[in-house]
Symmetry: C2
Subunit: 330 residues, 2 copies
Amino acid sequence: MGDHTTPSLAAAVSNSGGLGGLGMWGFSGEEAERRVAGFRQQSGGGLNVNYPLWDHAGDLTDIGGPMRKLVQALYDSKNAGPIPEPKASVGVVNQEHLAMLEKMRPEVVSFHFGLPDAETMDAIRSLGIFVISSATTVAEARQLEAAGIDAIIAQGTEAGGHRGTFTKTDISMQPGLFALLPQVVDAVNVPVIAAGGIADGRTIAAAIMLGASAVQLGTAFLRCGEAQILDAHREALRNASDDSTVVSNVVSGLPARFVKNRLIEELTEPGVEPLPFPAQMAFMAPLEDTGDGAVAPLYSGQSAHLTREMAAADLVSTLAEETNRCFSQY
Amino acid sequence: MGDHTTPSLAAAVSNSGGLGGLGMWGFSGEEAERRVAGFRQQSGGGLNVNYPLWDHAGDLTDIGGPMRKLVQALYDSKNAGPIPEPKASVGVVNQEHLAMLEKMRPEVVSFHFGLPDAETMDAIRSLGIFVISSATTVAEARQLEAAGIDAIIAQGTEAGGHRGTFTKTDISMQPGLFALLPQVVDAVNVPVIAAGGIADGRTIAAAIMLGASAVQLGTAFLRCGEAQILDAHREALRNASDDSTVVSNVVSGLPARFVKNRLIEELTEPGVEPLPFPAQMAFMAPLEDTGDGAVAPLYSGQSAHLTREMAAADLVSTLAEETNRCFSQY
């Protein structure tokens, strides 16, 4: 979950038996190195570095007019000033990042929205790094396996944040974790990591029953003190119910799950498309700066109600205890 | 799943350790009695009788013009003749059905789309019948419990057939089973039955880990010889993948999950609404009569790929064996 993750959060997770992760969404190679170095100072454990991949370069000056109007109305109501001018960008693991990976050697690199080109994949794998990526359908899992991935994250529709979808499958046809996970496990030979709706021992035990080799939790760690999120975001997670969230592309340009709030409602209008990912996200920073949960993006999965406010190390050990207790009943 | 269920299917399930179910969707009291009698002839076990509830009476003559045009185009392409004239109706457990319940005493009555009025509920409960209904959100589960229900079916978004939703919650905000089930279990004190995506021992074991007291399988039994479905429907289930299905209201007027086919695609047009449930369903019989899986409704959950073609009794015992094997690993 991008910059919600911090070196302290990742270190606390890795120090207590999990595998901590650091999102590298929009960070330069230098910033990425600083983040990994921060982790290394606090932990001798394994680290997972996550890259989103996109390719939407091009001049954005004249596109997204109707969306800019909706955004401007929201800014005006919050006195957030003029809206920023989004810049075109490409999300790749460039030479700067490859040099960082070679120097810092994170144990795991994960991707979102597919995989990089074969050359970059080879370069990363030649460093001995374990490479994983997300699949939201069996077809995507098969594609990842064919590309030589080491493990696959099966991301159910319950998951908070961005859908990892890299084929054209409509969100309305994507399976929930209960259906997705066993079908991915059956379809591929690499280990499968379950994601989406996992927040306590019961959900971990259920994922293992469905064939998962590991689980990935996102929203559950957002309420840890080490996560960098707005107080209003924490409050929204604390108050969320099972039907508080929605998948929308109005925050970033690609579908992601959020607590539904005024931001989502007012930027959603039939026929009005967001700017291409991640250009649309440029509109969000001034809204986040207001600190107002009504207009800030509130990333969340469907199990927010099961999450708890505790230190990350305590959460990891609590999850382990709960999971063991589930299995010891049988 | 309405008339896909047969007395033979329900009897085979109940005779092999499960609880067989008979849908009473659109059946008269007399027809319902004949169905229950058919079950009793073949089984001394328990029976679950299912009623959908609706209230959309009124003159339909002049409504649904744009939808009728889409339907007519489909009929024309299949030489299915003029389209039937849907009749208004109300779905209640009327005196005729209450008399049937009193005479035949099915062990369980389940409802879809909420609960009947308090008087009807009392009448059914005074017969000693166990009453259950479906919830697609925690809020719905709480409403059912407050109304004195004996158990609640937590229906995840993975489920085939009609969403049991009886509040206005949009399908896009409804949780997958992995998120819904534990949150319903936490919210209510009555037993919770898991539904949606359950098709083999792994999925049953996972549902139990999430707190389910029982599981309900629909799509998994459609491929049994005892189910009354088109050959083309069986073939569609055999060939389905995890992302073959979609939730649509164009078949009946209410959202249900189907294998996406030409029927769904051609009746889906922005701004074109179906007739109110279940009037829209009147258009389906002549299309089903063509036997063509492209234009017949193909009810299916997201785990169709995990289902198997076998006799219902074999399926029940296979599911039990598989589930035991899952637990014996730990």
